[in-house]
Symmetry: C2
Subunit: 592 residues, 2 copies
């Protein structure tokens, strides 16, 4: 289960690599004149990088090559590793994700496919493993530990599938499986839930990823003692420092919605450049194309004047070692030829870096080759959206009297955390009235996997929508339908549009204008190109703005409002969830 | 094959650890008030260390304990790891080695048992694996790659056994085996010797240790491309830097004879504290008892004003990660409770540190417990010294004329390297005459494993012996008999003494005074206590001095004179070896 330096297929291949390294044979590719990063010492060095058969065979010495890249003025660093990503959040298949991420320097990604697992179960994970098989980018898989995100006994949410220890045990030993993915159910772990204990025992020889926002003190010790070795959910420097000191390696996250880099980058120094990784977690394709992927965090780090060696070491070496990927993360003989050629944008690194060339397994990355690669699609079967017909009455929030005090989910821009707000609202004919003027809107979640008919409506503040609705089948982690809008009628219309395209994202204005992105793979992903997806997203965002939405990431923020493991107040198809108290709470406060 | 954090025997044990960590149960042992090293950040921190079931269960928070160690004024660091040791060089069984090494803070050692493998073959390795089984110290094993040290086809030496790829393949998968031990035959690797290629292929998923003194440039790239990940043979800073930059992790060695710490310690900084290890390689029991083991290198590093965090991180964390020992090398929940409590000797660390207490798997290390542990002994069988009766004529170096020009092995104090010197010597009755007045002595090696009768005599300079002889059955790596002395008669007498005790070390003066240390296990080791062995060694050294020997490590230096993989001129039972030229050379130069 340990991935050592590039294994040779046979002794002849080993012998050939030795011959190339000794210069007995002319190597196919030489990068000349670059300043290359020696990650072992944290120093940039000069000399050639010689590449053959996808592997670096020599560094530092002069080599003769069939192809020479003159990298005068450039720096060479190991390809970036995304230490924790849900590829589903790119809205694309792994092959299409590759088209966006690989040219931005991400040569390896560690995927927790828990979105598709929540919809399709074990079959979804198996598809994920198949879908990454023949790609140029290397995508390794962590097996989802919490499907659904909360213990099924709590009845907090209806996912498409439930995965118990016995279901996922079969994946231990799969060559692409590095371990168990983020253990979100940390209360379950702390209280020794039997199924969680079993999952940990089954995966104990592999890596156990964490997810424990805000956990500290003895409970954090308990989480670590179980073998959890990482967490990507720190939002403050103090939280990150405590986690790291307890052996929970910190993965600094900069997603489209959850943005922790500014807070956590001060953690990065010469020591932590071997114990801290970088990750994107959830990053939409627009951001990947426009800002970059791991490269975006790297640029933030350079701009915040972290030392370049520290940054590039964390972005490659640290994560590779952390996950036992001993064949990468360094520019040295025997390592994969995953290389980024970069230059400083300005006179110093403080203005960030520009990627000049990406080399993956010795191949120059070009768009044409990538476009030829396609992930196989999951077997077509039943519809993605499989629910009783929605009706207006689904969106009624009953109350008595003429006004009522109600709980309101308060959205915090750029965070997946929410706050609980309270508001007094009008009651008409036994129904609470939303109040778009005060930005208090109705929000509904409808079970969509198994015709179970669960649906729930609550109140939300922060979207700013004045005259329209948004609906999507992306809805972490259970991926039911979630919709928010300025009126019950518009919410219903947006959901009906969504059902028509069998899942995806829909925005609808009160003038009947509509924008949509169909996501035929489990209602989460598409096989369309990054450009096409980005185009649709731009239209959707433009229409969302035109109906009054003030959030820069309306769809991601909407889709995280149903994740009952991230504090504070969340909505699922089963009700309103107080995450800290770990219980359902009513929308309307009882009259005193 | 990857050793993760302490595996729990079952879910109940996992649950208990969680309960201890949360403080639900009072923990058996708490270390209070120490400044403890957070290796992940390279910072010392305050707060309790809570220990239960041999494991650290909590750090940084206040715990209640059955036993409290007040460590006010002390620092706590992870137990030291010897990244490369031949336990045989302690002259003791692993259990007796433990008695000396564990109280000096070495809680884990990585053993290449190639000395006993050269005598007993696979059976010797199997004994090594058995002998470490039940000890408190953790000793992991690297499987010897080069037995004998040179390709058998070269006929450079007669070892007790020859191990081919097919012989050692069976040990892949053994839970204590971490990989393939030092690949000394780097010329064989560079020239793609088929058996070496096969060994590398067989062990490629594990760790491949190196040994490549002076190798650089493209040949070093070739060595690295094959997957070799470490080397403990650097003697200059430039050599070490180049190796590290090529992914050959540097193990800084301070043995009894080979002392590289002064030259290499400047390599150690915040970056390299995660990529550089410390090792003893060959360290005699006197030095372990009087100066320390890994603790001795640590003190040298402190005295040379390296940063304490860098030193203690390299001494534990770096090596643990390098060898996949993920259950140790840090003071954090889930890691083994291998802890050294130390204090600075002076006002600052620059005067070195003093060990106050060693804790191994949560147990306070005390001499009494250690003395109760014993390694099983190998099955007694044939004699260790198994050779035709030595005779005076064995030591004749024939030459013609009245004088002859001859090659002389020049010993360099504190190094296992030698130089080739030349001298013109008297010839009497067709025999070259040694010249003790000029410190040119005869040195002889006699095959002792299989009655093969090979024996060879040459000349050596540097011992300074005036009137006596030294003989030993420790003689790297083939472990034949080697003897040096001021006359043929005294050499013979010393060898006869050695045969009488069936192996060990003997010093004999011309007055008939004799000192000896019997090593009944393969002629290499004894089950006697460290104090007893140290006592014998002191007597042997005193007598060696009294016969004129000027070397501070006469026995180790003598025993390395037959190792034909360390430059320049060496002697084996088969002849005089020019290591760089890789051929046998005559003692006497042909007359022109």
């Amino acid at each position: 289960m340990i991935h050592r330096k590039s294994k040779f297929s046979d002794a002849a291949a080993l012998g050939e690599a030795i011959a190339y390294a000794r210069g007995e044979k002319k190597v196919p590719l030489v990068i000349r004149n670059a300043q290359w990063l020696d990650v072992f010492s944290g120093q940039f060095r000069s000399g050639d990088l010689a590449i053959a058969n996808g592997m670096i065979v020599g560094v530092g010495d002069a080599y003769d090559g069939d192809q020479i890249i003159d990298a005068q003025g450039l720096h060479a660093v190991p390809g970036f590793i995304d230490s924790h990503v849900h590829v589903e959040s790119s809205l694309m298949t792994p092959a299409r994700f590759q088209e966006a991420a690989l040219p931005s320097g991400t040569t390896t990604a560690i995927w927790d496919p828990h979105e598709i697992a929540n919809v399709l179960g074990l079959e979804g994970i198996q598809w994920a493993l198949d879908a990454v098989q023949d790609l140029l980018i290397d995508i390794h898989v962590m097996v989802p530990s919490c499907v659904p995100s909360t213990s099924p006994e709590l009845e907090f949410e209806s996912s498409g599938a439930t995965l118990k220890a016995a279901d996922i045990r079969t994946l231990v030993g799969h060559p692409r499986v590095l371990g168990l993915a983020e253990m979100m159910n940390f209360p379950g772990l702390l209280h020794r839930d039997a199924d969680i204990m079993q999952k940990i025992m089954d995966y104990h020889a592999l890596r156990l990823d964490g997810h424990c926002p805000g956990l500290s003190g003895k409970d954090l010790n308990a989480y670590a003692v179980a073998g959890i070795h990482s967490c990507h959910e720190s939002t403050t420097l103090a939280e990150a420092r405590e986690k790291l000191s307890k052996g929970i390696h910190v993965l600094i996250r900069e997603g489209s919605c959850a943005k922790d880099a500014d807070a956590l980058l001060p953690l990065l120094d010469a020591y932590t450049s071997s114990t801290v990784g970088l990750c994107s977690d959830d990053r939409n394709p627009l951001d990947i194309l426009e800002e970059g992927h791991i490269s975006f965090i790297i640029n933030k780090a350079l701009e915040s004047e972290r030392h370049p060696a520290d940054i590039f070491r964390a972005a490659s070496f640290a994560t590779a070692r952390l996950y036992g990927l001993h064949d990468r993360g360094a520019l040295a003989p025997g390592y994969l030829a995953d290389i980024c050629l970069i230059e400083a944008k300005g006179q110093t690194w403080a203005e960030g870096m520009r990627l000049k060339r990406v080399i993956k397994r010795g191949q120059l990355v070009d768009g044409e080759t990538l476009q030829k690669q396609r992930s196989p699609l999951p077997q077509a079967g039943k519809r993605n959206l499989n629910l009783p017909k929605p009706q207006l009455k689904d969106f009624v929030i009953p109350a008595s009297g003429s006004e009522a005090k109600a709980r309101v989910i308060e959205v915090i821009p750029h965070q997946i955390l929410t706050r609980e707000a309270q508001a007094t609202l009008k009651v008409v004919q036994g129904q609470i009235q939303a109040d778009p003027a005060r930005d208090i809107l109705k929000i509904a979640v409808l079970e969509r996997h198994h015709q179970r008919g669960y649906r729930f409506t609550a109140l939300v503040q922060g979207f700013g929508i004045k005259s329209g609705a948004i609906a999507t089948s992306i809805n972490h982690d259970s991926h039911n339908i979630i919709a928010v809008g300025s009126s019950d009628e518009l919410i219903l219309a947006a959901i009906e549009d969504l059902i028509r395209i069998d899942g995806g994202i829909v925005v609808r204005s009160d003038k009947g204008t509509q924008a949509q992105l169909a996501l035929p793979i489990a209602g989460l992903m598409t096989d369309s190109s990054p450009d096409a997806v980005a185009g649709s997203l731009r239209e959707l965002k433009a229409l969302a703005r035109s109906i009054g939405c003030v959030l820069s990431e309306p769809f991601l923020q909407l889709s995280f409002l149903a994740l009952p493991v991230i504090p504070s107040l969340k909505i699922t198809d089963r009700g309103l969830i107080d995450v800290q108290a770990c219980c359902k709470v009513p929308v309307v406060f009882e009259s005193p």
